[in-house]
Structures are given as structure tokens and as C-alpha cells.
């Protein structure tokens, strides 16, 4: 009899090693994340991963999505379109993910988005800002919950119109993002303030992306004597520009300065007290902008776990998971097409505020926060004081302007 029980125990233990039968245990909902995890911009992937892990732990602790646990697969896009496309195919065909979240680079986003329609898997973009992915190349499966370039620059134009500056110039990275930021800024500011002047093309500086020495560009801008400068540099470029500009007296108050991505925590924490005060800076998410319970908890939990304040990319990944969860719960299934239909027109509360995904172009209408850089002894980095919150409806161009014809 003893022997019988021993054998029975062994059999039961072995059975435990076998894959759980689908009927009994809940199969996980699989989410594939594609961010830049290596190279000079790996910091963005790292932030997204932290945000995603926090969201997944919270969702799983609260019972998962439709009672099923969430499981993450992270892939490195390396910031290159072909690598990102391979990563996406692998996630969809091998890992069989239910949803894709990610994309940092606009260049990557623009080239992979047209293929998403063939993969028939929802993609929620959380960082790449090119207007085209919810514009000329938009499709049924592609969504974006983060602020896009047009929304961000529209906010900059609204702010610019409030200043006394008449003549504007720009400095931005020499690729589509820098040039489009300037193009949209001119368009929006001219609409609001017909008297605004813009320096001609040959007097404008677009430093190549690999630039580490911005002195020649800084000298050039100072020579052209504008009233206001729109800066669309970001990341390491922005850090170098700000430090070198500060040395050369660029931020001494001779111009109004609008920095479209200046409120990014990775930039603020690297610069510390080297970030000049009194610059207008924007971001896709600012951790002190929204005083909702959801945001307070997000900031508190994120800070408690990682020892830093959440960057916009951490918020993007976190927010995308909340958005996906809301869509699945609305659709009551993880069926990809049903989720896509549920995402269209979905209104969901995120730490950044309540967003609504427009069915026409799949761009989220979301609030934007800008502010002036200021020192505060309570924070190790410059914070925004005063803050200006712009309502999503006021800064999102009409869907008819985006060039999107949904297929």
C-alpha cells in the first residue's frame, strides 16, 4: 500500500511538470514590446521596460485581464526599421502575442506601420511622434496613445503666440523630426498670429544627429538675432546643446526659448542644476502635471520601485497596457479584431489624464503639459513651474487634416 502511494505521488508530481491543460489554468495574455534596448538610445527602451513591468505586476496582482495573467515579451528594435520588422514578425508568428506595444523612432514607425495591417495584430505606439502613422500611412490596426508631433508643436505655437517674440527660428535634428517640427510650428503660429515672422531657410541650423559640438550652430543662431527659438533637439543632442549654449550665453534671456522635448526626465536628471531656469519645456508626459489619484499612485509606485521619477516613455508603456486592458474588457475577448474595434473611440483614464482614441485616425486626443524650468529643493531635477495644461481637443488637429484614409 505504501508503495502504491509512493508511485501515485510520483505520477502526480510528474503530471505537475506537464504543460497545464488549457481547460483548467488560465492561459496568459501575451504582449509584445518593441523598443530600442541597445545602442545610444537604449535608455528609452529601459524606461519603457520599467513602465511595462510595473503595469503588468499591478494588473496581475489585481487578477489579470479577463482573469488571465499578462505575460510580456521584449524585443530590441535597435532603432532600425528592418530589425524592428523582424522583431515584430517574431512576436506575432512565434510568440503569438495578442498585442504589440512600442516604437521609439519615427523612422522605424513609418516603415513598419504599413505592414501591421497584414499581420492583423493591434499595435499601440507610445513614443514615435511622426504624424504620418496616424496620417498618410494610418491603418485599422495601428493606434497611438502618446502625443504626436503635430499636437506637441501646436502647443508650442499656442505658447509662442502669448509671448512678445515676433521673429522665430529653430534648431532641430537634421532628419524628418526636426524639419517637420519647424514646418508645423510655422503653419500653426502663422494661423494664430499672422504677424509672426520666421527666419529663411538658409539662416536656420539643423545639426546632423551625430553632432556633439553645437558651438557653430549656437554662434549661427546668436548671429541671426531672433526673438524666439524653437528647439526640437532631444536626448543627448539636447543635453549637449543646453550645456554648450549655457556656456556661450545662449540662455541669458535674449530670446524666448521653447524646447519641445525639454521636460524629459532623462535630460533633466543628466543636466541637474545645469539646466537653465525659465525655459519653456514640453514633453509627452510630465509626472507632476496631473493631480489624479491614478497619477499619484503611478508616480509613487514607480519612484518606490525604481528610485526615479517616471519618464514619458515609462508612462507610454504603462499607459498602453492600461489602454489594452480597457479595450479587452470592453470587447470581452482578446480576439484581435474585436480588440481593434474596441480601441476605436475608446476613452480610458491614464496617469497623464483621460484620453480618447479617435476612430478616424487612431490618434489619442490627450492633454499636453508645458512649463517653465525652475529649481525646487524638494526635487533633484528641475521641475516645471508654472505649468500650463493644454486640453487635448485644443491641440489636436482635426482628423480631416491628417491625410488618413482608414483601411
Amino acid at each position: 500500500m505504501k508503495r502504491f502511494f509512493a508511485i501515485l505521488t510520483v505520477i502526480l508530481m510528474l503530471a505537475g511538470l506537464l504543460p497545464a491543460a488549457p481547460a483548467t489554468a488560465a492561459e496568459p495574455v501575451k504582449i509584445g514590446f518593441v523598443y530600442i534596448m541597445s545602442g545610444p538610445f537604449a535608455t528609452y527602451g529601459q524606461f519603457a521596460k520599467k513602465g511595462a513591468e510595473l503595469a503588468i505586476d499591478e494588473i496581475n496582482k489585481a487578477g489579470g485581464i479577463l482573469g488571465r495573467p499578462v505575460e510580456a515579451c521584449f524585443e530590441d528594435s535597435t532603432g532600425k526599421p528592418d530589425v524592428a520588422m523582424r522583431a515584430i514578425r517574431k512576436l506575432v508568428y512565434q510568440e503569438k502575442v495578442d498585442c504589440l506595444i512600442g516604437l521609439d523612432s519615427s523612422g522605424v514607425a513609418k516603415s513598419v506601420v504599413p505592414s501591421i495591417a497584414q499581420l492583423k495584430t493591434p499595435l499601440i505606439i507610445t513614443h514615435a511622434a511622426t504624424p504620418d502613422v496616424t496620417g498618410t500611412v494610418c491603418n485599422r490596426y495601428t493606434f497611438r496613445i502618446s502625443l504626436n508631433l503635430a499636437q506637441n508643436v501646436k502647443t508650442a505655437a499656442l505658447l509662442a503666440a502669448r509671448t512678445d517674440a515676433r521673429t522665430w527660428t529653430t534648431v532641430g535634428p537634421d532628419y524628418a523630426f526636426g524639419h517637420q517640427s519647424w514646418e508645423y510650428f510655422q503653419k500653426y503660429l502663422a494661423e494664430i498670429e499672422p504677424g509672426a515672422k520666421f527666419l529663411p531657410k538658409d539662416q536656420i541650423a539643423f545639426p546632423p544627429f551625430k553632432t556633439t559640438d553645437f558651438s557653430a550652430y549656437i554662434t549661427k543662431i546668436m548671429q541671426t538675432k531672433p526673438d524666439g527659438v524653437l528647439i526640437s533637439l532631444w536626448g543627448g543632442n539636447l543635453i549637449d546643446f543646453v550645456r554648450q549654449g549655457a556656456e556661450m550665453g545662449f540662455f541669458n534671456g535674449d530670446y524666448e526659448v521653447l524646447v519641445t522635448l525639454g521636460a524629459a526626465t532623462e535630460v533633466l536628471s543628466a543636466l541637474g542644476d545645469k539646466m537653465p531656469e525659465g525655459l519653456w519645456v514640453g514633453s509627452r508626459y510630465w509626472f507632476l502635471a496631473n493631480d489624479s489619484a491614478l497619477n499619484r499612485d503611478f508616480v509613487k509606485n514607480y519612484h518606490g520601485r525604481f528610485g526615479e521619477y517616471p519618464s514619458y516613455n515609462a508612462h507610454g508603456a504603462y499607459g498602453a497596457l492600461l489602454t489594452y486592458k480597457a479595450a479587452v474588457e470592453k470587447a470581452k475577448t482578446v480576439d484581435k479584431d474585436a480588440v481593434v474595434t474596441a480601441l476605436e473611440g475608446l476613452t480610458v483614464e491614464l496617469p497623464v489624464g483621460t484620453i480618447t482614441i479617435r476612430p478616424e485616425d487612431h490618434q489619442a486626443v490627450t492633454d499636453a503639459c508645458w512649463g517653465k524650468t525652475a529649481a525646487d529643493p524638494a526635487y533633484p531635477i528641475r521641475i516645471l513651474k508654472p505649468m500650463q495644461i493644454f486640453r487635448g481637443v485644443d491641440i489636436t488637429p482635426p482628423a480631416s487634416d491628417t491625410g488618413c484614409t482608414m483601411k
Binding site: P40, A42, Q46, T212, A216, G236, G249, A270, G272, K274
Partner: protein, 286 residues
């Protein structure tokens, strides 16, 4: 005039930094015959170690003194354990090996210091600006403009006026003959490689107060250094100096006169040199 001076100084300060990095690259090539892909990673390590030392002892001068020395020590280890095995072999072995070292070092930096951006502060003595015509100009840049020729001059004197310098040049000219007259070539190679990595690292430490630190920061600079070395002449000391200054000035004045085409200027220069004078300005025939 004012713009001209500002651009001249901008170009010179960048050129000097390029010179320090290129001269290490070209010396290692001239003596060891190795084209070191990992040179940019030693540049990066110089910057990161300078920053790390400044966290312990808040002095830029100690950082710039100790950091590059530690990197040179790493250079000794790399040469002894790895590089030494590929001297006699096909050049592809060297390229693969040094590229592998680059990948390992880049990832090591990411593991130790994380993927984010860091900044290093200039020492108080060199912070701030001096008046220059109507504008002010950062002191640190003037320091860079001065530091290049000082280190370069010291190096040149070393190669030309000291016994050890002559030994290095002798070994570069004819390895077998040098060994034949009793020079311990392997030890010499280790020393030269350490010197090369030290130069890269001191370039990194000098660049640290001026540009942000991030993993892979060495990959950008290595491309420009290669252009400098090819334009100036592979293995040529004055070539590295002339090439680096030319490239620095081309980039700074290019932003004024060439606009967007500025990006292409270094490559156009490279192509022209390869077409018209493939051995570079100061390169030896053969």
C-alpha cells in the same frame, strides 16, 4: 569677423580633440600595424572613468590623471592577452578582434553605468566664459585649443628627441631589424598600445565636460578619427595633426557656408584624398 573668429575657435577646439584621438589610432597603426576599431571605446572609457573618479574625489584634475591611466592599464591587458595573438595573421582577424572588443566594452559600460546620459562638470578654473569681441567664449574650449598642441608637442618631442621615442620609430620602420639589434619588440608593442589607449582615454576625459556621456559615444568619434587618419596618412603623426584640424575647421565653417551639405563634407574630403592621393597628406609610399 566675429563669426569668423568664433567658428575658427569652434573648429580648432573640436579639431584638437579629434587630433588626440587620431594620433593614438595612427600611432598604434604605424607601429603595431593594427587598425584598432576599439579605439573609440577606450575614448568612451576614459570619459566614464573620469566621471566615476570624480564621484569619489570631486576633482576633474584627478579624474583626468587617474582615469586614462586605468584605461592604459586595460590596454596593456588587451594587448598581452588578445591582440598579441593576431599580429602575424590576416588583417580580418585584427578587425574582427578589435570589433569584438568594442562590442564587449560598449556593453560593459551599459551594465556598469546604465544606458542613460551623464554629464561631467568642467573644473571651476575653466568654467565660465571670457569676453571675445562682442560675445563671450567658453574658457573650457580655449583650454581644449591649448591642450591639443601641448600634448601633441610633448608626444612629438618624445618620438624625436628621446631614446625611447627613436626605438619606437625604429620598430615601426622595420620590426625585424629592430629585434635584430636587441630591441624587445613585444614589450615595446605593449607600451605603444598602452600609449595609444591612453591618448584615446585622455581625449575622452577632455571631451567629458563638453559633451554628454552615453554608451556607444565612442562609435561616433571613431568614424571621424578614421577619416582623419586616412586623410592625414596612415601612421603619420603630422598627418593626424593636419587631418584633425582640417576636419574640425571643415565642420565648423561648413555649418555656415554649406548648410545641409555640411554632413557630407568629411566624406567628400575622404573620397577626394583617396582618389587624388591615396596615401594621404603625409603618408609614406607603399
Amino acid at each position: 569677423m566675429e563669426t569668423f573668429i568664433a567658428n575658427l575657435l569652434n573648429g580648432l577646439s573640436w579639431g584638437m580633440l579629434l587630433f588626440l584621438i587620431s594620433v593614438g589610432l595612427t600611432t598604434v597603426f604605424g607601429v603595431l600595424g593594427v587598425l584598432n576599431f576599439a579605439h573609440g571605446s577606450f575614448f568612451m572609457l576614459g570619459a566614464y572613468l573620469c566621471m566615476q573618479i570624480m564621484h569619489v574625489v570631486p576633482s576633474f584634475w584627478i579624474g583626468i590623471l587617474v582615469g586614462p591611466m586605468l584605461v592604459a592599464l586595460l590596454g596593456v591587458i588587451v594587448e598581452r592577452l588578445l591582440l598579441r595573438r593576431v599580429y602575424g595573421r590576416d588583417i580580418t582577424f585584427q578587425l574582427l578582434l578589435t570589433f569584438a572588443i568594442l562590442l564587449v566594452l560598449d556593453d560593459a559600460v551599459r551594465l556598469v553605468w546604465g544606458p542613460g546620459y551623464h554629464v561631467v562638470e568642467a573644473p571651476a578654473l575653466l568654467a565660465g566664459t571670457v569676453p571675445l569681441f562682442f560675445h563671450s567664449y567658453p574658457v573650457y574650449r580655449l583650454f581644449l585649443v591649448a591642450a591639443g598642441p601641448v600634448i601633441g608637442g610633448a608626444l612629438w618631442s618624445f618620438f624625436h628627441f628621446t631614446r625611447w621615442g627613436r626605438v619606437v620609430r625604429a620598430a615601426a620602420a622595420d620590426r625585424e631589424m629592430a629585434a635584430g639589434v636587441g630591441i624587445r619588440v613585444p614589450a615595446l608593442f605593449t607600451a605603444v598600445f598602452a600609449l595609444g589607449t591612453w591618448l584615446a582615454a585622455i581625449g575622452g576625459a577632455l571631451a567629458a565636460p563638453h559633451q554628454s556621456l552615453a554608451p556607444s559615444m565612442g562609435e561616433r568619434i571613431i568614424i571621424e578619427s578614421f577619416i582623419v587618419v586616412v586623410v592625414g596618412g596612415m601612421g603619420s603623426f603630422p598627418g593626424a595633426f593636419a587631418g584633425a584640424l582640417l576636419l574640425g575647421l571643415l565642420e565648423s565653417f561648413g555649418t555656415v557656408f554649406a548648410g545641409r551639405a555640411q554632413m557630407a563634407l568629411p566624406f567628400i574630403l575622404l573620397a577626394l584624398v583617396l582618389l587624388v592621393r591615396p596615401r594621404g597628406f603625409f603618408g609614406r609610399e607603399g
